[in-house]
């Protein structure tokens, strides 16, 4: 899932303080699960933001709502009637949700209430860890199911580097060396042999290169409503 956390209240306050009516919009999907932007967090931020604004004598109305999925226009439809009553929206969705709202409501200022962090998993209650960088050309099959791009601090495809110490990474002693994990798991699976070979550079043309990517499923596209560009 996509993991995010909330911006500090003074920062959110300063983004919206010159507006008259602000709608806080939460999202019921990933950010609800990572406790950053669901209905409860919207309620807490709503109260906190109203207090922070009043303490600085800004007369701003802050209302709250949460929609099921902010990154899909069909779900944003629910806001179509209500949104024009506001001159700003503060989204508690991930960056995709914020931009989906901005695309839908061209006349309303849209601000992010969260910092979108990464794609990851729940490691333990209250702790989330990054696992995938969305490189568009998944290598997990060749690296024993552990992503070298995301989990090695240097994104090495031929690791470990000389700084791996006791299973920890030289960049930060609190994080596991991704390459130690790869070797340990590959050893257990008895698939260490391929690691004797040098791995050629990753094909970055599928990710982080050439502008925003698009996935198209022709069979699912409705005639005349294919990709916009």
């Amino acid at each position: 899932m996509i993991v995010a956390d909330r911006k500090k209240i003074p920062q959110i306050r300063d983004m919206v303080k010159n507006h008259r009516r602000v709608l806080l919009v939460g999202c019921g999907t990933c950010v609800t699960v990572c406790l950053a932007g669901g209905e409860r967090e919207v309620g807490i931020l709503g109260s906190a933001l109203r207090m922070a604004l009043r303490l600085q004598h800004h007369d701003v109305v802050v209302d709250e709502c949460t929609i099921e999925r902010q990154c899909e226009d069909a779900f944003i439809d629910i806001l179509a009637q209500r949104a024009p009553e506001y001159d700003a929206i503060c989204s508690l969705g991930c960056g995709a949700g914020v931009q989906a709202l901005a695309e839908r409501f061209s006349n309303i200022a849209v601000y992010p209430g969260l910092n979108t962090q990464f794609m990851g998993i729940l490691e333990s209650q209250g702790v989330w860890t990054e696992k995938c960088s969305g490189c568009g050309n998944c290598l997990l099959g060749e690296f024993a199911g552990i992503c070298p791009i995301t989990r090695c601090a240097k994104h090495l495809l031929n690791g470990p580097c000389g700084g791996s110490r006791g299973g920890k990474c030289e960049v930060n002693a609190n994080i596991d060396c991704g390459w130690q994990l790869i070797h340990d798991r590959a050893g257990k699976l008895g698939i260490l042999d391929p690691f004797e070979q040098i791995v050629p550079p990753h094909d970055w043309s599928t990710g982080l290169d050439g502008g925003p990517r698009k996935v198209v499923r022709e069979d699912q596209c409705i005639a005349g409503l294919g990709p916009k560009s």
């Binding site: 500090k8 209240i9 003074p10 409860r40 309620g43 807490i44 109260s47 906190a48 109203r50 207090m51 922070a52 009043r54 303490l55 600085q56």
Partner: protein, 160 residues
């Protein structure tokens, strides 16, 4: 009591609420500025309850749960403490003194301690002064006047 601090005490049914009751039965004197709200367990406490109280202008909030290890639901009071900590951080971000909110642990037999906790908070909150979020009485008065005027105008309209 206009300048006296207004305190909300969120009390666990099994300990602090009984302790407050005991303080009353023992005829202990403690400041009358506290409004007691009974929770089935402090584990029921959510951060948004605390935010809602401060947003409505209370000067301080006491959260009172069982002694650590003594929660009837095992760890409700430990969870409450973590939520109180989070709420205190939020208060600091908002620009209110985090010390306006505090969690205490006590047993149902500690009537005198309940009185002492309330006294401590009242003294602390007097130093901080009235919450800047307390609704302005003149604003409330103005609102009431406006409603009266509207009602009179409606009645006058009916008579015509």
């Amino acid at each position: 009591m206009a300048d006296e601090p207004l305190i909300l005490a969120m009390c666990c049914h099994y300990c602090a609420y009984a302790a407050a009751d005991l303080a009353g039965s023992m005829r202990l004197q403690y400041p009358g500025n506290v409004r007691v709200l009974r929770l089935p367990c402090t584990g029921k406490l959510e951060v948004n309850y605390l935010m809602a109280a401060f947003e409505r202008g209370v000067d301080g909030v006491i959260v009172a749960g069982c002694l650590e290890g003594g929660c009837h639901f095992l760890e409700g009071n430990l969870r409450a403490r973590r939520r109180v900590e989070r709420a205190r951080k939020l208060l600091a971000e908002i620009g209110l003194e985090p010390e306006r909110l505090e969690m205490f642990n006590l047993s149902s037999a500690e009537g005198p301690r309940f009185a002492e906790i309330v006294t401590t908070m009242v003294e602390r909150l007097k130093r901080f002064g009235t919450s800047p979020l307390r609704p302005d009485p003149t604003r409330i008065e103005r609102g009431v006047q406006e409603m009266n005027q509207q009602a009179e105008a409606m009645l006058a309209g009916d008579k015509r």
